[in-house]
């Protein structure tokens, strides 16, 4: 599904990622870990084209995303839930969803169907359609950010620390949605800091250190390698 090879990227003269490789398969949750400043968010942004790749390939199926203009990336099947959610805070819940649908299915019937599907997945949003996104609670904002990304009907879902700052019930709700998406065959790439989450549902773990690949774990290697994983993260 997603295959990144030799990716070097950064901001202006500053190189953040050096020769990074990563694979995320359909129907799997791949967790990207690393200490602060390791380059996890930059990698997510590079996949979205928001940080320009200086070299390397970011292939989603046959498409090299690195060669596309950034606004064409979501249309290729990549949904992005950024760190801090970054909703269009002055717009209503309905308008945020409308923006998400913009890069998704084109015909009105499919759009309506997708919108209804999202409201079924996150019933709380249905009650707040005309409320400004900035006035929602943290958990509701995370639901909206996830719904907005899923409106694209993505093959690959990028989630950058989606549970950061949320209460346990909301963390569980987000976890359930992720598992549901995995079961529907989406490739989920998740940036996560919580080791317990990784032990719970990760199919693969990839650790970044100082913008380089440090170590990769398959599902079978995660539990036995927990001590090494903790050492990488310094916890």
């Amino acid at each position: 599904m997603l295959k990144i090879e030799g990716l070097t990227a950064g901001y202006g003269q500053a190189v953040i990622l050096r020769d990074v490789a990563l694979t995320a398969e359909a129907g799997e949750i791949t967790v990207l870990m690393g200490r602060n400043g390791a380059g996890k968010t930059t990698l997510m942004k590079s996949i979205m084209g928001l940080v320009k790749a200086q070299s390397g390939r970011i292939c989603l199926g046959e498409t090299d995303l690195a060669q596309l203009p950034p606004h064409k990336v979501p249309g290729s099947g990549v949904g992005y839930v950024p760190q801090g959610r970054r909703l269009f805070s002055e717009l209503t819940v309905a308008q945020n969803i409308e923006i998400g649908l913009g890069a998704g299915p084109k015909d009105p019937a499919s759009r309506r169907e997708t919108r209804d599907e999202m409201l079924e997945l996150f019933p709380r949003l249905a009650e707040r359609m005309n409320q400004r996104a900035g006035t929602l609670s943290g958990g509701e904002q995370q639901m909206l950010a996830t719904a907005r990304a899923l409106c694209l009907k993505p093959q690959l879902l990028l989630l950058d620390e989606p549970t950061e700052g949320l209460q346990p019930s909301m963390i569980e709700a987000i976890r359930q949605v992720m598992l549901q998406m995995r079961d529907r065959g989406l490739a989920v790439l998740l940036v996560e800091q919580r080791i317990d989450a990784v032990l719970d549902f990760a199919d693969r773990v990839s650790v970044l250190e100082m913008g380089r690949n440090a170590e990769d774990f398959t599902r079978a290697e995660i539990a036995p390698g927990e001590a090494r994983l903790r050492a990488h993260l310094g916890v």
Binding site: G75, F88, I99, A103
Partner: protein
């Protein structure tokens, strides 16, 4: 004429200025709101609109068109031409500067002089009139409580023209349409999303640079439309953009940069006060007071009357 009718006359003149100013400043505010850049060439797009109105009406008159048809052609074509020129300037200049706010100010100063001097070369140094599509004089009533009780009468000299009233109504309709466009249409939603977070807009498939080109063109087209509306009252001249730019900046700073509602309210305040002070005192005093008002706003409420305080 008594003070009351005289004040009403001054307010009508002010309302015409407010209407034109609101349209022009809305363009400036739209560009800043969405793109976060200050367009110093905005006054020249206003001037270009007026000049284009003259060019189009001359061309149409050559084809034998009547004043009304010529004016409608100018009102449609001049904003389209000016908007296209501005969008081209955005793509060829601002986009290459990555919309960096400081460099855009310098670049648009360059655009200002290019447009101004090109107009001087092509259009000439003289002010030229455009005939209003209709311009009948309308006597206005006043009232008094005399010995015979409440009386309505028509004082000598208290009148306006149908065209001036049309300018006020047209500006109100256009600004209302602009608000509806921004709040109710999908294109408006895309512009607002781009304004709120350009990077996230890109992450949801919005071609931000294309949106910027359209917004820059639309902002210039609004200024051009203001130029077309004013030219039957004021004549087109290649230096007319300077004062208009100053007043537009005053309006958007008082109203709050990027706030359309604030821009309209500030345009009414500045336009009306300019009209009234100009009639009772001098136009120079009106400009001094407006500039002083900007200074006070910048000191005591830097975000403007309707602007959001930046964190």
């Amino acid at each position: 004429m008594d003070f009351g009718p005289y004040l009403m006359l001054a307010m009508l003149e002010g309302a015409v200025l407010a209407a034109v100013l609101a349209l022009m400043a809305s363009g400036l505010s739209l560009v800043f709101g969405v793109m976060r850049v200050v367009n110093v060439a905005h006054g020249e797009f206003y001037m270009l609109g007026a000049v284009m109105a003259w060019v189009v009406t001359q061309f149409m008159a050559g084809l034998g068109g009547g004043a009304a048809v010529n004016f409608i052609a100018a009102a449609v074509l001049a904003p389209l031409i000016v908007g296209t020129i501005a969008a081209a300037a955005d793509i060829t200049i601002l986009k290459r500067l990555d919309y960096d706010p400081e460099r855009v100010i310098v670049a648009t100063i360059g655009v200002l002089y290019i447009i101004q001097q090109a107009s001087l070369m092509g259009y000439g140094p003289d002010a030229k009139p455009v005939i209003a599509p209709f311009n009948s004089r309308i006597a206005l009533p006043w009232f008094e409580f005399g010995e015979e009780g409440f009386q309505i009468y028509f004082p000598w000299g208290l009148s306006t023209t149908s065209y001036k009233l049309f300018v006020i109504v047209a500006a109100v309709v256009l600004l209302f349409a602009l608000r509806l466009f921004m709040t109710r249409s999908r294109a408006g939603l895309i512009m607002r999303a781009t304004q709120l977070d350009g990077e996230m807009a890109t992450a949801f498939g919005i071609p931000v640079e294309r949106v910027y080109a359209i917004v820059f063109g639309a902002g210039a087209a609004l200024a051009a439309l203001a130029g077309v509306l004013i030219v039957p009252i004021q004549q087109a001249h290649y230096l007319m953009g300077g004062d208009a730019l100053l007043l537009s900046f005053i309006v958007v700073i008082i109203g709050g940069l990027g706030s359309l509602a604030g821009t309209v309210v500030a345009a009414v305040i500045i336009g009306m006060s300019d009209g009234i002070i100009s009639v009772f005192f001098t136009p120079t005093l009106a400009k001094i007071i407006a500039t002083l008002a900007v200074a006070l706003v910048l000191v005591f409420r830097p975000q403007g009357l309707f602007g959001v305080k930046s964190r």
